[in-house]
């Protein structure tokens, strides 16, 4: 059913009767009359705040006579409207509509709904700001405004979802963000035709360049400090109402491997952490696959003291290494998924049952070899050092593909698989910017802030991927 306003509806005359007709059968819709001056007020009762209602409507109108009411409505919080659709949308956004002498006014008396600002569950840091974005868009905007106190911080409001009419706010710095990217992004968002949007991680799939790729193409985060630094770097941030994740673009693959606390540590430590995450990336996609490949085809590559232990341990296992590895990887994914679904208190039990009982017993029962348990556990742990949950989930999926390739063709297959991943990565663009920046196109200055976290005196320019018109960000001399 098409629920967009038909041309007749769009042309409908704004009358109280029309509004009442539109909201009929809505039990939370309230119609209130003031007999002393003949004004009628309508609103959705659970969207508005009691205090606001009292202050803006009940108190001023209940004591006012005809003339006073007319004068009052010409003043500021009350905005006159003639458009029926605008009036409907206003009511849905938490405003009250006042009908008086055949004319209509809107007044915003909505109350914020949702939790207060608290720490993000998925992206926690040890040192650094502990606030996270929440579901309410305006709260999130306020958090950003508090961080970047500049009138150059511009916002664009767009609406997506034809039924849900979810607000999406684009935030950027004028003179620093690239207008071309901004235009492209607005075009994409306006082109999204869907009935509803609930989450930014869902929304970005509607507007990305490569919908069939396994990799997330917009960087999402729940951390305001991260988004603030992205905006300063020349990126455009987008907030989706109802979602605590904020996305920024253009994004490169390596953005998913940096975390704001890299910058809060000394640069050498930050560099070490970056390198650790790169190692984590390699381990998480390749370690189990390498085990499969080596035990199936390339016994020459195993140090001989380990080889004998491994053979001893493998000799009780009835399956070939490929099946063995797939079984264990599936088990650990089951554990992880179960842990994510369960309440925190039961989640710990799962950890004990999974980690100790299954791990120990599987080896003793001759179900798997103990080196495989190490490989599987290491790659599972390594997948969690990647700060972005969405990226780490993608990498875990790739791992299965590589295991199969390694089990079928050995190291040749493993490297063919890695080659395919690289081809895929090289083909992805985000708003037309290359996903593999700064490797392709190569930019050594950007690498200072990609694979390592260079000292601040070396980070003088904004990242090239943003194509910012204002390149210098740090004028300090060493």
């Amino acid at each position: 059913m098409d629920i967009r306003p038909t041309p007749e509806e769009a042309k409908a005359e704004l009358t109280l009767a029309y509004i009442l007709d539109q909201f009929k059968d809505c039990a939370d819709f309230t119609h209130r009359s003031f007999p002393n001056n003949g004004a009628s007020v309508v609103y959705l009762s659970y969207l508005v705040g009691n205090d606001e209602l009292l202050r803006e409507i009940v108190k001023p109108l209940s004591g006012a006579n005809d003339e006073e009411a007319a004068a009052l409505l010409e003043c500021d919080p009350y905005s006159a409207t003639q458009d029926a659709t605008a009036c409907l949308n206003g009511i849905l956004d938490g405003s009250a509509a006042i009908f008086f002498r055949g004319r209509a006014w809107l007044v915003g008396i909505g109350r914020p709904i949702g939790r207060t600002i608290e720490q993000s569950e998925t992206e926690s840091v040890i040192a650094g700001p502990h606030d996270g974005f929440v579901e309410d868009l305006y709260e999130n905007l306020a958090v950003l405004r508090k961080r970047i106190k500049s009138p150059k911080l511009k916002t664009v409001f767009l609406s997506v979802g034809e039924i849900t009419r979810t607000t999406v706010a684009l935030v950027y710095l004028e003179g620093i963000a690239n207008r071309e990217f901004l235009g492209k992004l607005i075009g994409r968002i306006e082109g999204a035709e869907i009935d509803g949007v609930f989450e930014s991680n869902m929304f970005i799939q509607l507007i990305d360049d490569n919908p069939n790729s396994v990799f997330p193409q917009y960087m999402t985060t729940e951390r305001p400090d991260s988004i603030a630094s992205k905006i300063l770097g020349g990126r455009i941030a987008a907030l989706v109402d109802g979602s605590p994740s904020v996305f920024s673009c253009p994004t490169s693959f390596f953005d998913f491997f940096s975390s704001p606390d890299d910058y809060y540590q000394r640069w050498m430590l930050g560099t070490a952490l970056r390198l650790l995450r790169i190692i984590g990336f390699i381990v998480t996609i390749g370690f189990t696959a390498f085990y499969v490949s080596v035990t199936t085809y390339h016994y020459e590559m195993i140090p001989h003291t380990m080889l004998l232990n491994l053979t001893e341990s493998r000799s009780k296992v009835p399956f070939p290494p490929l099946i063995e590895a797939l079984l264990m990887e599936t088990t650990i994914e089951l554990l992880r998924e179960a842990g994510a679904r369960l309440p925190t208190k039961i989640g710990q039990t799962i950890g004990i049952v999974g980690g100790i009982v299954i791990g120990q017993a599987a080896v003793q029962a001759g179900f798997t070899s103990n080196i495989l348990i190490i490989a599987v556990a290491t790659s599972a742990i390594a997948s969690f050092v990647i700060p972005s949950y969405v990226m780490s989930a993608s990498l875990r999926l790739i791992r299965f593909g590589l295991i199969i390739m390694a089990g079928v063709l050995g190291n040749l297959g493993l490297f063919m698989g890695i080659g395919l991943v690289v081809i895929q990565l090289a083909g992805i663009t985000n708003l037309g910017a290359s996903y593999l920046t700064p490797i392709a196109p190569v930019n050594f200055r950007d690498m200072l802030d990609t694979f390592i976290r260079g000292p601040f005196w070396a980070l003088t320019k904004r990242p090239s991927i943003t194509r910012t018109p204002n390149k210098i960000k740090n004028k300090m001399k060493k």
Partner: protein
């Protein structure tokens, strides 16, 4: 997208014939070749030693065959796991077989792509099969014992690390001949019993184990050697001293004093520089005095020089240029001239002088 099933089929159906799942293969650690007792039609005795997964024991197969591959086929018929060569650590040649030439067998190892280049090439004296099949108090299997022994000994560079790569390189290269470490079985150990000098692929002479360090010096570049100087007679003022932790450098200078064809017009100066600490001393010198220190250095140099010259005499007698003097000689002449030169013959007649310079950094902590 239509090509995807095709691609998948190409990957998945491409066969798994090359699978060598580790618990289904037996890894050869040591291969030995020696002369068969009653050798008929060129048969030799080939033995394979495969460690068991318990690491304390090994499986030992021995047979008479014409080549390694033939022997492996025989062993494959008996072994419950497929025998593979990819974890080979050392190959042992019996001394008497080595005297007849080993290239035939060596070549089959070089051709096998699964055999690594760093497989130790060793010469064994006595009954090789028995040496390999024995239990030693050093713990693990003979194969691992030899592997570890060679690794630790070659670390200090006094025993050249002779592996497949260096052996084949020196065999093919002009102006140098291969060498190999000699092993010998004692009642409760395996001992390094000198260095075998080859001419071509034939074992022709042996450097005794006491002199292996001097051979290392001549070969050049000892990094952390350990030299024991047992001054023999009255001409020296000390009884014995040990130069510990020394490093050495070699410098070769070739001068031509006449026609080279018979090797007589060739003068080679080997300059050895040793620098290290002396930590053991028995003798009458007062080492706290600088002039006595100089005297000791000079005497030690004289002693080392004598030893080196006797090793060179051994090599010249055997016409085996194991230290690569020929490479320096080759550099002084055109290739055509070199091709005409019978180097082993010229080497045996060349005049090779050794100059040794020893500087002792410190004389131990009591000074």
């Amino acid at each position: 997208m239509k090509k995807l099933p095709l691609l998948l089929a190409a990957i998945v159906l491409s066969g798994c014939s090359d699978q060598k799942i580790i618990e289904k293969v037996g890894f050869t650690r040591t291969i030995s070749f020696e002369k068969a007792e009653d050798a008929e039609d060129g048969r030799i005795k080939v033995s394979f030693s495969l460690p068991k997964t318990t690491q304390k024991e090994s499986i030992f197969y021995s047979t008479e065959a014409r080549s390694m591959r033939q022997a492996r086929l025989i062993f494959d018929r008996q072994n419950d796991r497929r025998i593979v060569n990819g974890q080979l650590r050392q190959v042992l040649f019996g001394a008497s077989l080595a005297q007849e030439g080993i290239w035939k067998h060596f070549d089959s190892l070089l051709r096998d792509p699964s055999v690594g280049n760093r497989v130790h090439v060793l010469i064994a004296e006595g009954d090789v099969a028995q040496l390999l099949n024995k239990k030693y108090p050093q713990g693990s299997t003979a194969g691992e014992y030899i592997d570890n022994l060679i690794r630790t000994e070659t670390k200090v560079m006094d025993v050249p690390d002779t592996n497949l790569y260096t052996f084949a390189r020196d065999y093919y290269d002009d102006g140098i001949e291969p060498v190999a470490t000699i092993l010998k079985e004692t009642p409760n150990s395996i001992i390094i019993d000198g260095i075998a000098l080859f001419r071509g692929d034939r074992y022709v002479a042996r450097i005794p184990p006491e002199d292996k360090m001097y051979f290392g010096l001549l070969l050049g570049g000892v990094r952390a050697g350990d030299l024991f100087l047992d001054f023999p007679d009255e001409r020296y003022s000390s009884e014995l001293s040990t130069l510990l932790y020394f490093a050495s450098r070699r410098n070769v200078k070739v001068t031509r004093t006449g026609p080279i064809m018979d090797g007589l017009g060739l003068k080679v100066d080997l300059r050895l520089t040793l620098r290290g600490s002396m930590l053991e001393y028995n003798g009458d010198l007062h080492l706290e005095r600088p002039e006595d220190q100089k005297k000791l250095e000079a005497e030690a140099a004289r002693y080392v020089q004598g030893k080196c010259e006797s090793i060179i005499a051994t090599m010249q007698e055997a016409k085996a240029d194991g230290i690569g003097v020929g490479q320096y000689v080759r550099n002084t002449m055109s290739y055509r001239e070199w091709k005409k030169l019978d180097w082993p013959e010229a080497f045996s007649r060349a005049k090779i002088d050794v100059h040794v310079e020893i500087s002792i950094k410190d004389f131990g902590k009591i000074q």
